[in-house]
Symmetry: C2
Subunit: 342 residues, 2 copies
Amino acid sequence: MVRVKKSPSKNISIEDVARSAGVSITTVSRVINKFSSVKEKNRVRVLEVIKELNFQPSIFAQRLATGKSNVVALVIPRYEGMFYSFYVLELIRGIGTLCEALKLDLLLHLTDAKINLNLRGAGGIIFSDIIGNREQLDDAFKSGTSCMVINNYVSDLDVDCIAVDNVGGGVSAVEYLISLGHKKIAHLTGDLITQAAQQRLQGYREALKKHGLVVDERYIFKTDYSRGHARQAAEKLLKITEPATAVFVASDSMALEVMAVARELGKHIPDDLSIVGFDDNPSGLYGPVALTTVRQPLVKMAQEGVKRLNQLMQLGQEKRPKAQKLILPTELVVRESCRAPQ
Amino acid sequence: MVRVKKSPSKNISIEDVARSAGVSITTVSRVINKFSSVKEKNRVRVLEVIKELNFQPSIFAQRLATGKSNVVALVIPRYEGMFYSFYVLELIRGIGTLCEALKLDLLLHLTDAKINLNLRGAGGIIFSDIIGNREQLDDAFKSGTSCMVINNYVSDLDVDCIAVDNVGGGVSAVEYLISLGHKKIAHLTGDLITQAAQQRLQGYREALKKHGLVVDERYIFKTDYSRGHARQAAEKLLKITEPATAVFVASDSMALEVMAVARELGKHIPDDLSIVGFDDNPSGLYGPVALTTVRQPLVKMAQEGVKRLNQLMQLGQEKRPKAQKLILPTELVVRESCRAPQ
DNA sequence: ATGAAAGCGCTAACAG
DNA sequence: CTGTTAGCGCTTTCAT
């Protein structure tokens, strides 16, 4: 009838500590949770025992008891190309380090969106981009879980999000080229499945129109952020009749590829072709010609996202505040890859 | 005295399902855990209700009850440079996708080794490289947690590990250069804080000795895997008197940098300098001269590691089998960046 | 085939 | 300042 008390498990529990320290479980719990009310003498004693027994509280029991979870799930869609980028690594780095600092547990989900994540364990979820997983976001949001969308401005749901001013970045890149006197400006897009790539393209178009230049669709090359496609596009770009004198490329790694192709074809940069990239990837600094680019605050975006999510998580499901939607500014970094057309 | 029953929380529990389905909690639990003993009719009914209520069991309660955890913690040391690599991304990709497939929760820890991770929650831990966090490994191992070390052969602890044959890779790279007729072969090392970089250097030395060539320390350039340092090293390398005719570089991204510098200095590859990289990073394919390199099975290493760890986790703490230590072979991929010395 | 009830290890009222 | 005790939501005997 009565279940036999399990043989002494190896894992020490709060009870062992309490017994060993000669206090109640509650007191130990208070020490763990830094309640100020515990008598100094007891506190010290308990701490000693904890160290001695090498005790670590079970996070499962803690969470079951409190109903709170400080697990942050990071959901990254797993589409081709996405995972080969400077961008993803920066994101993981930004989020990872801040979570570590805030003592949040970071759960990584590389999802192809077909999987039904068990989100129930997570206290908060960060969606990095929404590619084919909008439903997951909606579900999670509806269920009351704290959500944060990164690198994707979501206008049709009252969810917190933080993105980069891609349109503005595109505009500033192209306006800069225009200011140098360029009229024939091409664009290599990123994967247009991403909002960022769409918006950079939009910025490109807006800037041209604003300055009374026609948008020539032959100057728009659609790629997927990969170096391979960038190379193909660059070859076309450089070989068409009446070639462009400048190009705005949606990512630095692609821009480097364009530079390489140009050199191989005997073109000189920036004399024969001006190039502006996007990212401020350090790799852009080490070539023969330092790359002019649009800096986007990736790590900052990641970290602000985590910070805000943490706030939301602390507030809890009940009182979800009005969503905060941020767009971080970009900054044109002028280096050596552009000059006036010859 | 008696605590008031909490107002109906939003989270449905197994109890709600049981009530709604007209069965006991136990039966629901059995359905969840796919016990064959449940009558078909009940099983179907319960499943219906689960779907209807959109119920997901609390993993915390499950784990508290079972004492088992299918959380895998991935510990990545956070030292300079480490995080800017193809390598890390490949690792995360490999581990991430397999965990997703095996329904393991992946907890990501970017650690600077000072933090005391609460490992108690994790059912298994993957240490990616051991840089300044050997103590964590020892602790975790001692406590009985299933451990797996990746990209680092650990000989002084009976822990499972899986690494790449870096020595062999280095040897094959250098022997290939020797076979082409090179005698003056330089080496750009990776960050020698890593075992991989040490071993590639070792392979370089072994190959030279084996073929009766002297190891000239002036031909060994120590870097940290970064492109910036690679550039500096490349400049020195190309400018010394009696320059090498070939170079074995510890990573592809650095090798690409060396190629770029060579071109800038007017050297032709492979005529003036033969280059072998390490990684088989796709970026190596897109340059004007495709990079000859040593392919290392990163994703495979990551995935085999997870697979094995999963086995260990299923076995549980009690019966930890004898550790299995694997070294995965590398493969020389000959492309266009090498030829006989002129 | 099913259910009652005892934990799992911790937190949080509440009462001293 | 400290201890008692009732859960948190699930799994797992043990009986039926």
